[in-house]
């Protein structure tokens, strides 16, 4: 087994004609870019365009990325920018996009490689937040979530807001400590 290559090393190799390095960048960062595009409210076709756009921008900047080791964050940020441009053209998402252009720490969690930290933090929450967020992460509708938790469906939305707020505070605290 080879040690996984550093992102900066992968970028340099890709700029130097190494296709396997490009493929490795894709498998490392593609899923996160997809999540970023979807988080901006894009449908599958538009999200695919946003992700593809970010890769094409990387091609344009293969030799000029200022911080090669931060290429993952660069790709996520570029995906978000392309996604917002696409959403803006659609106009219907204009309001949401304006809010998204000033992302809070939640965006940083998604754009940085913090999935494990996020999941660990969710697991440390008390009930019903822990189960609720785990269920929402699996894309269950409010009705299903209400059934599983044994609560009225009308309470799921407000509880969701409260639990996300709690999670946001905890993540912020951990980032401050780090």
């Amino acid at each position: 087994m080879h040690e996984p290559r550093d992102p900066g090393e992968l970028l340099t190799a890709a700029a130097d004609d190494d296709r396997t390095a490009w493929d490795e960048l894709e498998s490392r960062f593609g899923p996160r870019m997809w999540a970023v595009a979807r988080a901006c409210g894009l449908n599958e076709t538009d999200a695919a365009d946003a992700v593809q756009g970010a890769w094409l921008r990387l091609l344009e900047h293969l030799h000029t990325i200022r911080d090669p080791s931060g290429v993952g964050a660069w790709l996520a940020t570029t995906t978000r920018r392309e996604a917002m441009l696409i959403a803006r053209k659609g106009q219907t998402l204009a309001l949401r996009v304006e809010i998204a252009s000033e992302p809070d720490p939640a965006a940083a969690v998604l754009e940085a490689d913090s999935s494990r930290l996020l999941w660990k933090t969710v697991s440390s929450l008390n009930e019903p937040c822990r189960t609720l967020l785990q269920l929402l992460a699996t894309d269950l509708g409010y009705q299903q979530v209400a059934l599983r938790l044994g609560v009225p469906i009308g309470s799921v939305g407000p509880t969701r807001t409260r639990c996300l707020e709690k999670l946001r505070t905890l993540i912020q605290l951990q980032e401050t400590v780090q």
Partner: protein, 148 residues
């Protein structure tokens, strides 16, 4: 609120839900083949009709400038496909050609003395034009997204 959406997307990512579709990964990998070594990239620039503005007849006028070359592109979207009429200014001279590229299709056009070219029936999505001139580095426009 979008920030909650963002947070939930992070959770879904962490949970392994809403995975990236295979075709999106495959297209990203194939994009590597669209590299043009040593190319200079032309950035969008203003022109009399503002760049990227859609005219009443459904056509976009886009200008790109770099390395002393200007690309004027008139992009028309009709029937779900894209037609391009373009001009490279100043005319780049004998033996030059342009590649009109989308991620899945490249059409090559020899450039006449006027520097004008056309390409029709391109699939919607990302598009870029590369000008090749003997004795010069290739000049490519930035990728631009064209959808109906």
């Amino acid at each position: 609120m979008i920030n909650d959406d963002y947070f939930l997307a992070a959770l879904r990512l962490a949970a392994g839900n809403d995975p990236i579709p295979g075709h999106v990964s495959a297209t990203a990998r194939d994009a590597y083949g669209l590299r043009v070594p040593q190319a200079v990239t032309a950035a969008p620039a203003e022109r009399a009709a503002p760049a990227g503005v859609r005219g009443t007849d459904g056509c976009h006028m886009i200008r790109f400038v770099a390395a002393g070359l200007t690309f004027d592109l008139e992009v028309t979207v009709g029937d779900g496909l894209i037609d391009i009429a373009g001009q490279v200014i100043p005319p780049p001279g004998e033996g030059s050609h342009v590649d009109v590229r989308t991620p899945h299709l490249t059409l090559t056009r020899r450039l006449p003395r006027t520097g004008q070219f056309a390409a029709t029936g391109l699939p919607p999505g990302w598009l870029s034009v590369v000008c090749h001139r003997p004795g010069h580095a290739p000049v490519q426009t930035r990728w631009v997204r064209i959808r109906p």
